[in-house]
Symmetry: D3
Subunit: 153 residues, 6 copies
């Protein structure tokens, strides 16, 4: 983890980074249930899950999202802040023992309301050990500009 100033102009379209992997454990699911209060049987009742279509316990969607985003948290950019996410989708279930990593691609740059900032969209894919995408989301960053935008919307 380190500080690095990255301005709006510095983000390059299609630039891609890939994170370390992390194996999802039963302990992670126990921690997430306790952390959020979501004790749904999909995550915590192995017997009930045996009779469901997926046949076993699955990770919480909010956990795959939080842990996946956590994997990307390696550079503190003091020139940008997170506004939120669009199109967050739970594409496939994540099971105990799966190993996930994140791939982040800059897919869009556009003017922001505030001419001192620009909007950067990072497309996040969380991918398992089989190469399957399990979760996607578009991260919306507001990044400071080196030069104010001429006539932004």
């Amino acid at each position: 983890m380190h500080f690095e100033s990255i301005f709006f102009e510095d983000y390059r379209l299609q630039a891609k980074r890939k994170t370390f992997g992390r194996t999802i454990t039963e302990a992670d699911i126990v921690v997430h249930a306790g952390h959020t209060g979501d004790f749904f049987p999909h995550h915590l009742d192995a017997e009930w899950c045996k009779e469901q279509p997926f046949g076993q316990r699955i990770a919480h969607g909010t956990m795959v999202f939080s842990m996946g985003i956590g994997l990307t948290a390696s550079v503190v950019n003091p020139e940008a802040f997170s506004k939120g996410y669009d199109r967050l989708r739970f594409v496939k279930p994540v099971f105990i023992g799966d190993t996930i990593h994140a791939e982040v691609t800059v897919t869009e740059k556009r003017d922001a309301k505030n001419p001192l900032y620009g909007t950067v969209i990072e497309h996040v894919e969380i991918i398992n050990q089989h190469g399957d995408v399990v979760l996607v989301a578009d991260h919306i960053l507001l990044a400071k500009r080196k030069q104010p935008a001429a006539a932004s919307s």
Copy 2:
């Protein structure tokens, strides 16, 4: 927590439910950092935060989201599943000692690709003890229909 079958036809537009509250503690932030691997100083370095605009440690966005959604996890509806979220926005910072609750409103019902299901949008607001909305998101549910849609898109 209990099971309750709620079909597409059962969801009523503008129906609203409000959850219990939960005080955000320093321990929650420590747990979330450890759970996700996000040890950014915004969340964990009280000294550094003193010199930032918000003046103190703030909760992770993914934590406010996960804990807020967790507060809504009280009814297991076997007729629906979560597809994801749209327009997730971190509106205001959440500080140690704040108490949040969630308010969920059914804001949209529309046909889904699969005529056996319908899409239900639940607008989620996470609100602090001052009544300020700190996070919003649109939850996308796919709910089974009692009767298949006539000619869905």
Copy 3:
């Protein structure tokens, strides 16, 4: 979880409720040891346990009790409070991988010292995936009366 006012008069003898299930994990035992400081080898030393009658690590009695009671915590009744428990018994060992749920039956109603309240006994059974009762206890509730008792003891 929701609020619901249930007065002494509302409790019905033999009324029974059954909770969701929860699989006991190795992580739960690690958490309970750390939470309580009880690191006895019965719970934490797999090698030592191999030579004991039960052959494997077992859950702490206080954990089965706390998690079992936790499963019943779904309705906040502002008209009653918990006085304690009688006849708490550890009937059978709980192993890693077992799935427990709770069944709660109102087994007794009687006058309390305070005529504004009545005593309600809820018999709690914690049951594993084989249908075996692993823990029992009698929960003692003091519940407000709608009408004060005429001449209570």
Copy 4:
């Protein structure tokens, strides 16, 4: 923590031991809620608690019990096992910042059904920093006899 063989005959009536103290933290309550799934506002919602008789968050009864019993877990006696508890009572609320310890007194010895064992009752008191008893319970031990009982009930 150490092993020590203590037989039925070795327990002395009125023998008393006192444990170390432990300060109850907000983190302990967060852990207990997550461990058990009991997120009642009495324990987790500081705002709601302000309007209740006790004015602040209180520890879960199951937590005071589990942590109090945990404090007593210092000697592994291979000649005895725990059968359960009687007369467990939540006498006073425990608040964040309170420091509790346990005092354990042998209060009764009696024959058990099995003549190879005897029943020992240890009265447990959990006491706070003001000297107030906050929880009591009678621990029921079955302890091996050096000599079988003559004609036990």
Copy 5:
């Protein structure tokens, strides 16, 4: 855990004590990663580890050290305090499922700068279920003397 006054003069060279055992779980590694922020793939990425010389996830060195030292924490000696450790070595990897215990031997006694104290060296060995030493360290204690040293260095 109990208090016991042990003075410099009381420590006997070659006196040895052996602790309880504890099985290292996947949950322990998850907790340690979250506690310390060390999410290196050696500990958390089962897929990556398959291609490494040890073939599977290994415990953090700091975890084996902390948990091993924790096993020795059974007597509070108010007459001594810990100055640190010398020659801490990670001798062999510790895997999930291994059971470790500690053996502590007094290997040296010498004068300290302060004539009111003496230096005691406890050699700590952490040993797994196969009898292999996995970690060693020399614990440096400063212990109060009953009688000040005559002419210490």
Copy 6:
């Protein structure tokens, strides 16, 4: 966190790096006690600590060490591995609310037994918000050489 191949020849004497800071919380101490089983009153009993020289609870030495070393875990160097630590010293107490960071300096390079490797000593200092060094240790790394040593000892 990223991979970076750093060979013995690449380490430069006196090269220094400084990590992010992290505030030590009461929750961290609770977690460390539960993780290691060390429930000594120095760390967990606020009442007892009031009467000790330091007047308040202090962090475990093993915790300051583990968390301090964790702060340095940002680059995975596949060409080196950790052999252990020398001269680990607990210099000053760390209190709840203190903010620590680590500073790591390459202080020595020498031949190793194996001519394919060299020994690198990194001096680690853990420093609080007042600039006081609270813990020091010498980290011993074995780093692969680009060229085998001519005649190593």
